[in-house]
Symmetry: C2
Subunit: 201 residues, 2 copies
Amino acid sequence: MWRVGRSSDAREKLLGAACELMRARGYGAIGVAEICERAGVRKGSFYYFFESKQALTVEALRHAWEEESAAWRAVLGGGGHPFRRLEALLRAQVKAQYDSKRDVGVVRGCLYGNLVLEVGGNDEAVHACLAEIFDQQVAMVHNVLHEAHAEGMLPTDRATRAHARAVLAQLEGMVLFAKLDNDPQLLDTLWEHVEGVLALN
Amino acid sequence: MWRVGRSSDAREKLLGAACELMRARGYGAIGVAEICERAGVRKGSFYYFFESKQALTVEALRHAWEEESAAWRAVLGGGGHPFRRLEALLRAQVKAQYDSKRDVGVVRGCLYGNLVLEVGGNDEAVHACLAEIFDQQVAMVHNVLHEAHAEGMLPTDRATRAHARAVLAQLEGMVLFAKLDNDPQLLDTLWEHVEGVLALN
């Protein structure tokens, strides 16, 4: 029993360390040795849990998104005006960048967006995992637009998947600029721009 | 004279090879040996021209943006309606992703945006170079918005630097999704969304 407890603890530590390092420095720049050191786990143990850095990365991304998507669902699935829920979701993303700047001095941006642009199609397993995560994000936002449409607040031709994607594109693009300038304040106008994308203003 | 000619040719080849490899696979995943092999230049020669991969990267990015910014200026500085010029600029970016898909089978995305998200603040010289490039892009778009305002086609509060950045954020974000899905068609609605950001619709 003790061994099992200890093992699963090491696995969690490896997942957490991988996420933390990827948020700071991306995928290519980090190696198994560094992940193990950060996690305080011996390299031999690493390969007991994961076949490769790639396998760990996919697990770590799933793990991160599982937690994060629960928060997305809580915000988007709550009561109240659909647009207020969408606004709350986006403001939470902005707050995360303010928190990152305050806590580590750096606007780290979006873990998934960072990896899309770094990894591209060069790593099939990581890429497929990212595609699945963004697919869920688009579906969640699309769902809110659909609700807004059902309540008569958004015409059919703007309650589309393309518009949901465009909302998230504005978020990802603005986060890119905030990361570039290491300035979360650039995100203060995000909701205003998203209102524009949905032609709410 | 022959040596000089040959040398500067090798330098150009190294710059071109670095750009090409970075477009395909980013910054971290490529090394000096691979750049030299691609350029057909001996590794000893590399260090005659460049101190490091970092130094070459900065030069290569400047080189790429010098060419590209000339095209931006030509499109944005032409005559006609300011919004039609902005639309033409964005359509040229979309076309570049269609061309990439046709020529190499892959939507490669934006070289500069890719590197922002990959490199972040971890490489100061590359980061400063990217910041300068995006600064110029924002200034160019801001200038068009300013012209539109001067011609009475855009109110003051939408002819701002923040709006220029939001236009480019929409482009970068949509390109990220097109890269993720390896599908340039996702960009077909880009101009429509940008009209939304500027509240033109």
